[in-house]
């Protein structure tokens, strides 16, 4: 009986999604605006980041994107960076949408053609955002679109992490 319980526990752990306190999943994805440029998660070591998994066909993702642009504008990128990773089947759809809401290309935009990040994180909804600390560990997970109040709460946490 003990062996069965142990087996079940091991299997549950194998299928478990990364949680708060776990290491963020490493990635190496192409830049949405420059196809030849590869962006790796190791470039953000020692920096507070918000990893946003989104798609242009997701209405909640569309709603929160302008809020992320405003948020990024309030922080220097060497302290805090928002990384958006699109899972659109066509990158042009994502670029078209971002050109409307983020004309200055304030946000770091990546393209995840294989949907590797949502699969690895076992995303329960779209969009999903992960606040990642300087140590590379997940600090908070936001499932669903963020509104103004959520952004205020998020900003307070960012300030704590950044150390302002």
């Amino acid at each position: 009986m003990k062996k069965i319980i142990l087996l079940i526990m091991v299997m549950i752990n194998l299928y478990a999604a990364p949680r708060v306190g776990d290491n963020a999943i490493e990635f190496s994805l192409t830049d949405l605006y420059h196809e030849s440029k590869i962006v790796s998660s190791s470039q953000y070591n020692g920096k507070v980041t918000l990893l946003n998994l989104w798609a242009s066909w997701c209405s909640g993702c569309q709603a929160e994107m302008p809020l992320f642009v405003d948020l990024q504008n309030r922080y220097k990128k060497n302290n805090f960076e928002i990384i958006t990773s699109s899972i659109d089947s066509s990158p042009s759809a994502a670029v078209d949408f971002l050109n409307e809401v983020d004309m200055q290309h304030t946000l770091t935009a990546l393209y995840d053609e294989d949907k590797s990040l949502p699969k690895a994180y076992k995303c329960p909804g779209m969009p999903t955002s992960f606040l990642i600390g300087k140590d590379g560990k997940i600090v908070k997970v936001y499932v669903g679109s963020l509104d103004h109040n959520d952004i205020k709460e998020l900003e307070a946490t960012i300030q704590e992490l950044v150390g302002n």
Binding site: M11, Y15, G60, I87, P118, C123, P124, G125, G144
Partner: protein, 72 residues
């Protein structure tokens, strides 16, 4: 030993069936297209979409994650 093998087999196969049956939230691109809307009338479609989201919440909705109460 046989029982253990049987339990492992059931768990593994049920894990596979879960992946085969459930459309994950990040795989709903084609469901999000206008032509997939059940109601051609905009206002009605929005209302039905809201109900759909609440109903879908436990498995991850199209745009936002809800607890099933429809209050968000």
């Amino acid at each position: 030993m046989y029982k253990l093998f049987l339990i492992a087999l059931v768990l593994f196969t049920s894990g596979c069936s879960e992946h085969l049956v459930r459309v994950m939230p990040y795989e709903k691109e084609y469901f999000a297209q206008d032509k997939m809307s059940l109601a051609p009338v905009g206002a009605r479609s929005e209302q039905e979409g809201h109900i759909f989201l609440i109903r879908e919440a436990s498995a991850g909705g199209e745009s936002s994650f809800q607890g099933g109460c429809g209050c968000r």
